[in-house]
Symmetry: D2
Subunit: 454 residues, 4 copies
Amino acid sequence: MYNDWGGGHVMARPKLAFLNDLVQAITGNERRGKRAPITEEAAARNALSRPASERLAAACDVLMGRIGDAARVAVAEQALAAYAQLTKPERHDFFVMLRDRFNSSPEAIRTAFAAYDADPSARTLVPLFNAVEPPRQTLLRRLNTAPGATLKLVHMRADLLKAIADDPELAPLDSDFGHLFASWFNRGFLTIQRIDWSTPANVLEKIMGYETVHPMKGWQDLRRRLDPADRRFYAFFHPATGDEPLIFVEVALMRDTPAEIAPILNAPALDLAEEADTAVFYSINNTLAGLKGVSFGNFLIKQVVAELAAELPSLTTYVTLSPAPGFAGWLSGVKEPEAVKLAEELDQGAWLMDAAEAERLKPQVEALAARYFTEARSKSGAPRDPVARFHLGNGAAAWRVNWPGDRSDGAVKRAHGLMINYLYEPAAIEAQHEAFVRDGTIATGAPLAAILSR
Amino acid sequence: MYNDWGGGHVMARPKLAFLNDLVQAITGNERRGKRAPITEEAAARNALSRPASERLAAACDVLMGRIGDAARVAVAEQALAAYAQLTKPERHDFFVMLRDRFNSSPEAIRTAFAAYDADPSARTLVPLFNAVEPPRQTLLRRLNTAPGATLKLVHMRADLLKAIADDPELAPLDSDFGHLFASWFNRGFLTIQRIDWSTPANVLEKIMGYETVHPMKGWQDLRRRLDPADRRFYAFFHPATGDEPLIFVEVALMRDTPAEIAPILNAPALDLAEEADTAVFYSINNTLAGLKGVSFGNFLIKQVVAELAAELPSLTTYVTLSPAPGFAGWLSGVKEPEAVKLAEELDQGAWLMDAAEAERLKPQVEALAARYFTEARSKSGAPRDPVARFHLGNGAAAWRVNWPGDRSDGAVKRAHGLMINYLYEPAAIEAQHEAFVRDGTIATGAPLAAILSR
Amino acid sequence: MYNDWGGGHVMARPKLAFLNDLVQAITGNERRGKRAPITEEAAARNALSRPASERLAAACDVLMGRIGDAARVAVAEQALAAYAQLTKPERHDFFVMLRDRFNSSPEAIRTAFAAYDADPSARTLVPLFNAVEPPRQTLLRRLNTAPGATLKLVHMRADLLKAIADDPELAPLDSDFGHLFASWFNRGFLTIQRIDWSTPANVLEKIMGYETVHPMKGWQDLRRRLDPADRRFYAFFHPATGDEPLIFVEVALMRDTPAEIAPILNAPALDLAEEADTAVFYSINNTLAGLKGVSFGNFLIKQVVAELAAELPSLTTYVTLSPAPGFAGWLSGVKEPEAVKLAEELDQGAWLMDAAEAERLKPQVEALAARYFTEARSKSGAPRDPVARFHLGNGAAAWRVNWPGDRSDGAVKRAHGLMINYLYEPAAIEAQHEAFVRDGTIATGAPLAAILSR
Amino acid sequence: MYNDWGGGHVMARPKLAFLNDLVQAITGNERRGKRAPITEEAAARNALSRPASERLAAACDVLMGRIGDAARVAVAEQALAAYAQLTKPERHDFFVMLRDRFNSSPEAIRTAFAAYDADPSARTLVPLFNAVEPPRQTLLRRLNTAPGATLKLVHMRADLLKAIADDPELAPLDSDFGHLFASWFNRGFLTIQRIDWSTPANVLEKIMGYETVHPMKGWQDLRRRLDPADRRFYAFFHPATGDEPLIFVEVALMRDTPAEIAPILNAPALDLAEEADTAVFYSINNTLAGLKGVSFGNFLIKQVVAELAAELPSLTTYVTLSPAPGFAGWLSGVKEPEAVKLAEELDQGAWLMDAAEAERLKPQVEALAARYFTEARSKSGAPRDPVARFHLGNGAAAWRVNWPGDRSDGAVKRAHGLMINYLYEPAAIEAQHEAFVRDGTIATGAPLAAILSR
């Protein structure tokens, strides 16, 4: 274990004999231009031909050692290239190394704590903080100096999250990634872009791949969502991850609050955006698994409302048409006889084809849906539905349940076809947000309230 | 003092009665559009008419409290606007509040340390880290969500550095700024731009203001440094600080290593860049005092060398023509009789006009200059000359002393007109850097070595 | 007929009573902003409700009359909007009007000619030129002041070319369009753009629609032609027609001159562009029928050769893989018994499936193909094959015939699957061009010459 | 004289022995890359070392001859480079050659006219037009294929205009340039750009040089005209002339119609653009002498009014503050005794310093100014004042005379310090334009009318 990475640049060099050779190879290679063959030193050649896992370990040591800042860029690049070649077990070993080798030193922490404990102050806190902050955070920052590194580190964290699923002992590492990403992906660094039919094809292709709420069937489907006069489509980008959309939202401009998704996905409704009074957010997608926990959605919605309000003064209502992904799971756990019977009937699926049957079931579904959105809670006390957690947490109100709202296979399976509108009413957002955070109060709209009081 | 900012969103609301009114005022104001008068609530009006220091304090509390993420943007904007109105004493009070009120909790630290101490591991480190990291870092991150906030926070740190000069007890705060800025201004987020005569005028104007090594006398002077075929000019920018250059370097393309600055500043030397074999870095300027300690210079030099090498294959030599700002001060402390006499003669200044006199003094100046660059050390053992510390730390060699190299008033006063070339030899940089960091070894070029062995 | 459009602004206003109303309607409407309803004057309303053909005729008169330059922009916009609403017969009538009403005045021509005839000089030529130039050229220039007008006028000429097919008496009009377009679409105004996977989707979609040489089957097919490392794709654009590609060329980077199109269309061949020594132009498409006769292709090829040479120094050969669209038609007219028999066998198509059969026919096809490219001429004496005319006219050589080169339906029908490589050898282009233009000499490459000498 | 440039590509090659060598030199040189020395052929070397006038003449012949389109680009480039080296007398000779050698053929014209005269129709007009259009127009279009050629041809015409001043026999050439430029610089191809403090410095520098109405004293003066919140600055650009502004207008946003220029030039008046109700166009400058007769000003004013109206709904009045450059000259020709006396008193200049004296003279100056703007005519019957011709021709009204309005030397000399406001009232522009064009009627505003009726 290393003693003092940050400050003193003093490091007990590891016993990797080829370390100096590696630095020579990397910086020498760079010196001669990328295409030039490395002929100077056999040792350098050897260093670069070592297994990826060894090169990565060595490069990490170099990055934490006495190398010049500028030379670090090339070493970081090599490290990330080596990481990309690791197998799954090698990645696990790398994460273990990050956790154990680039960990804080208990001795240093104890020493710093003793000084702090004797005189707790902002002054004594500084060395304690330096002792506590794990060296791997510094390592990740240094890896991030390479061109294109940020996106690679986001993907590395996605790998980590998978590895944690198999080996929960890696979980502490995730704090370090999460902590850094919260800084790097600060709202102040994000830029909003309108996505339309003149957006570069490579960005559109990524978006097609990332849309999972209402998957797209190809380019024409994509085009229907962003090209017609009554559609808008926005995404956040970060300067360091370039073309990669971080989150995006799809908007339909309408003359009323919709109850069903299919008409929105199938065709435009209005010839002119100016005719609309309602902006419907009907699909919000986060894209990068490695950015888990870095919140973008609330900022995006707020910004899009501002953009739309500036462009289209005729808009008066901002509302979602959202899935209810936990409804079927919750319903299957409700043991009251009517609920059990309803679940069975829903599972049989006659309602999908038979309008009269759907009409018959509708009041019962609505009643249980209303309970689902207002009563069903997770263990932590938060609403059970993850989409509800997001919108209610943003200060929106659960406005109206819509059934059947989505007849697609996924929606039928997860929610018996149930959908819901959340209403974003600017004047109420802050109070509803606070009531939700403080007391868990769920704001409901008139239609939902009417069902609840039936 | 607050107990747990980060995790639980539980906060003992301060006794500032107008806090809720302020939030209402800010978010309500936003709701109605920026230009609309606030007529709804007298309380909101009152909140916004409170003194800036109170509004700032309240906004900080709101930011750390139960407010929604998206609403934070507006509150952060208000907080920074209020900060901009503070007087110097009010800024001091604000920094004190940052230090004391948004500090870590000793109890929380002791609890987390006890758990860690019993079982030191990556797992128990996480809560300790969370307890130790001061809440003000979170506050600064939240302030940074406002549009344009990053530059304002950089200026805030510049204010802090001045405040620390008067009140060293504020110093611990600087670690928090420094820590965050190191993340935000990571090399990976910077972009290099060539500055030339088609650069926007507002950027050029900033650059004129920031040039302090060889100050510019106006637009024509500026133009001479970036427009001729034998000049290059590069700057680093950061996406979040937009038009603001963070550091810039001025380059003259020449046929030899120059010994004097005046010819470079006065006129172009070559008609075609392709005729040059030497790239001379003759002025490097950091711009923002608030970015102290965030190192850009070494990255910039490395990147510029890469850009120039790609554009101009004829270049073989990369060298600086640098000032020696500590020479006069050092010389005045050398007590040997010849040195004292030389200092006197230099102060009299006859050499400025009289070439023969300059010729006579030259060997003595060179000998002392050679000692200055190779022997003079600060208390910490580093080279006494700050420019030397930078270039030697980058792995450059002290190549040749030049006297008289700069007859401008400032250079005469600070360095008796002495200049020096540092040589950036790609093949040697890493070894020289390491020797310098490890042993303090100063690499010297042949001309300097010749003087030393006289 | 009008007497003097250009100079004196004196015009016998036509008896269209609503003309002034129209101007009022247009400029008044503009004054009030586009969305405002026209309520001021019933007359103005009436004017705008007249049939499109009347509005167009009136707007043309206004454009040629005493209206202010700036007001013309709005009138031109109305004229083009009215044109877009015309039916096919109305378009015919409009073209007749352009021809007859906006024609030069015989009296004015005779007068100017008399003066010129008496004293032929540059001085007397000026008024003659002014009398001879048809007023419709001025009208077209004035229509072109409207935003987006240039593309609309190009489409108008495409309509005209169709109308001429039905009514050859309209042909003189085409000279006027052709004359203006040659000026507007001057090479100096065109910009080359590389098309790749980051090109806006709307541009890519246009390109898919315009590709007729080797039609694309969708986005994945398109992507295979521009995204792999061994592909390049370039188009010319004009500032006034924005996103509209005017011509584009598809390039495969290879290690040899290809003989067959299918492998090129199906998959990339090289992992790195740097491995290629041959750039193959395998598809060149003009896009806008209305730009007939405005030559872009030669400029584009020249420019693309320059771009590729700068990017990839390893390239040594620039060659096409081109269709032979006139081969089947020509062969069907060759009356020699072997040719007749060959044509029959080719029509039967056994060679398409049976490699041995193809092998058997190959020498005969090659022999006739060689004759086709070197002997077959149109009535004007030019090569009969239109693609040959283009490349030979550019100074390329007919290098090698390839059979079977293209088994697609269209190529089998038009050319019995024959393809040909034209070689662009920079050192020979000018001489070959001149020999071709002067004497009709067709440059042939060694492979083709070998067949001819069999 | 050439017989048929355009159609048949048949040309009597001139007796310039080095013509082929020149083509070889140019295209060969291009082939080898620009920096490669020409070593292949002594003949080619010789060709390029001939005097510029010979090279230009030869290149023109090549351009009109049998050379390939693509090769023309390089020849056109050489021709323009050779032109740039001509002395003034050589330029004169070149223009004579353009006029005489690249003139239409009288025989061809007579033949085409005979056919037309026998049957005047659109059909017979086409060959007549082709015979009449001078080959030099084709030559200029071919020169325009070179990169950057358009601006060079504009400068060539500026040279021609100077040459015509010495030799009026060159005047017919100017029609050809004018005719082409009207097509090339069509309104539809221009783009408007707002000029502000973030505009590239090279564009700003050009603008400083081109401002002649109220010359700028340097960068700070420039900045005062475009950076403050109450200023706007717009220019037209053309894609083919890049960074070169073609015309620009300076606007001050005010709360009233100004009577004096100095306050506008000295300092901003309003803190916020939104406070203004009046947009004052106080300086309009055409930039390129070679674009004489190509009208931009009216389009620019119209477009700027549209831009301002969209940005600032508070604006109600669009007005100029304009010089009266012909007033002093006109007044000196008025022989009435009071006018003679007034002119003398104005020349003495006491009014410049003595407010009472100015007050005393004011009514007399106003009375004569009102006559000047409403009665003074040039020989052609148009208003004598050139600025008046421009604005009245655009449909503006002469609104108010202002004296003293401009105390600068130039304004005192040319106009005894008189200025005038022209009012652009959208509702009246078309009618005023037509009345002005038809009858020469000058629209006057109430203040001017009041003076006239005194």
